[in-house]
């Protein structure tokens, strides 16, 4: 039914080779607690999607929060287009938010239950001041386009999140994240709450968005198959440190760090398709 996902998709246009988003020696500690991140350095360059893997408590989600500009690192810096990200700089933050959008793990808690889908998807446009005047009662055509791009029916806009299944909700979340045409999509376990059959479709959708929109994805995932399918680069985190990073093919194919090796060996596999 499906064509196999190429292991390392061809990199997108490499025009801008410098990092869009980067962490430089970033550390993070909650007040009065031992640090959860130590000297993390990562680059997210255009067309080179990044997968962050590691076990729970390794600091994956904290890295993502730093890259999303939700929290300031307690040491080191986060760079956006080469400039240090300053959370109080409104002008820079507006450019940053426009360029970097996010998708979350749980499609039930990531959509406001009291907003219609049209309102949810249009939120980045409204908040970033990108709304265009449309006639009363009309939708911004970009909302409809975003919904169509993620494969949702046209009447979805008028409905509420609870009327949709988990996979459809995740599509709504992706439509919201892509409506303002960002360059980077930061995703926290975007498919791990979904059923296997749904998971495949969402992964395929993300691959399609990478190819057609030139979107670069930075994703936290515990599922190495999903990372292999979506990310050109992989970084392995253990106890708040990046223990290994590089091209996905080499990190997952010939891991050098013992933890990476253990991680890869632990992935449950189906018995091979051919009878023995």
């Amino acid at each position: 039914m499906t064509t196999p996902i190429p292991a390392t998709p061809a990199p997108g246009p490499r025009a801008a080779d410098s990092a869009i988003l980067a962490a430089r020696d970033a550390g993070f500690a909650y007040r009065g607690a031992p640090p959860v991140l130590h000297g993390v350095s990562l680059d997210i360059t255009a067309g080179r999607s990044l997968g962050l893997v590691g076990e729970s408590g390794a600091g994956k989600t904290t890295v993502l929060r730093l890259l999303l500009g939700l929290t300031r690192p307690t040491s080191g810096r986060i760079l956006f287009d080469g400039d240090e990200l300053r959370l109080r700089d409104r002008e820079q933050m507006r450019r940053f938010r426009r360029g970097v959008q996010s998708v979350f793990q749980d499609p039930y808690s990531s959509l406001d239950p009291r907003q219609r889908v049209s309102g949810i998807v249009a939120e980045p446009l409204r908040s970033l001041g990108l709304s265009r005047p449309v006639a009363r009662g009309e939708e911004d055509p970009r909302v409809a386009a975003a919904l169509e791009a993620v494969g949702l029916p046209a009447d979805a806009a008028r409905r509420y999140p609870h009327e949709f299944s988990g996979g459809q909700r995740q599509r709504i979340a992706i439509a919201r994240a892509t409506v303002c045409e960002p360059r980077v999509l930061l995703a926290d376990e975007p498919v791990s709450a979904l059923d296997v059959t749904t998971r495949v479709r969402i992964v395929d959708l993300l691959i399609e968005l990478k190819e057609t929109r030139g979107l670069t994805i930075a994703m936290v995932s515990h599922d190495l198959s999903v990372v292999a399918a979506l990310c050109e680069r992989t970084a392995v985190l253990e106890h708040g440190r990046v223990v290994e990073q590089g091209d996905t093919a080499s990190v997952l194919g010939s891991p050098s760090h013992p933890y990476s090796r253990r991680l890869i060996a632990s992935v449950p596999r189906l018995p091979s398709p051919k009878s023995p």
Partner: protein, 276 residues
Amino acid sequence: MNARDPRALDVNGLTIRTDQGRTLVSDLSFSINAGSRLGLVGESGSGKSLTALAVLGLLPPGMNASGSIVLREAPDAPGTEVIGATEQRLTGLRGRAATVVFQEPLTALDPLMRIGGQLAEPLRRWRGLRGPALRRAVAEALEQVRLPDPDRITRAYPHEISGGQRQRVALAMALACDPALLIADEPTTALDVTVQSEVLALLDGLVAQRGMALLFVSHDLAVVSSVTDHVLVLKDGAAVESGSVDDIVRRPQHPYTRDLVDSARHLESALERIVR
């Protein structure tokens, strides 16, 4: 008339309905012989967890089961019908005839009670152990699930140990009364991949060593195929296909099973290319 019956669990025409008349599981039949294993596979909404709960007479209020569920403590013991049994009868059955390990051990353990105390409870109740004998049995139970530093774990509260350790404790509690049937409901879904493979190996070894029957409920075909030999695929509360793991995974007959297997393979394919 009590001929030897090898079936530890015999489910016949199980139907689960809500009080509003919605059918959640319909006409499900399967059996598990003493010492053998069955995987119950399905996506969310398939009724797999409800079936597991029904076997122990643990359906939430507002749902009722019809049909027949017979549990047998030993091949020569008389079977006990679960459906319609009094709560008292069921309490006698749980622990001896069948026990369950749930997905999230944190909610299965009492947060205000030390691990040692929780583990001692079934041992005291079922095996009548007291004093030093009880303490020894607790230590043995913890050793059996390969928990390091049993002394520390005995004194710890559930929140003070890791998720993997909690699941081992839950497993130790389930095994404490030497049940004929162990029901594992997504027991490793909440765990990290590396921990998952350890817990699966442990479960596999203990079930084999004790000759227990195993009903393993999961959404993950790869995980199921690593611990069981037979699989029953559920969709929307009805069985769509059953057979040996090999047959199901290599020669799925039903379109839904094929979709499930293909999706899993599709996701694996990207990783396969890199890793092998």
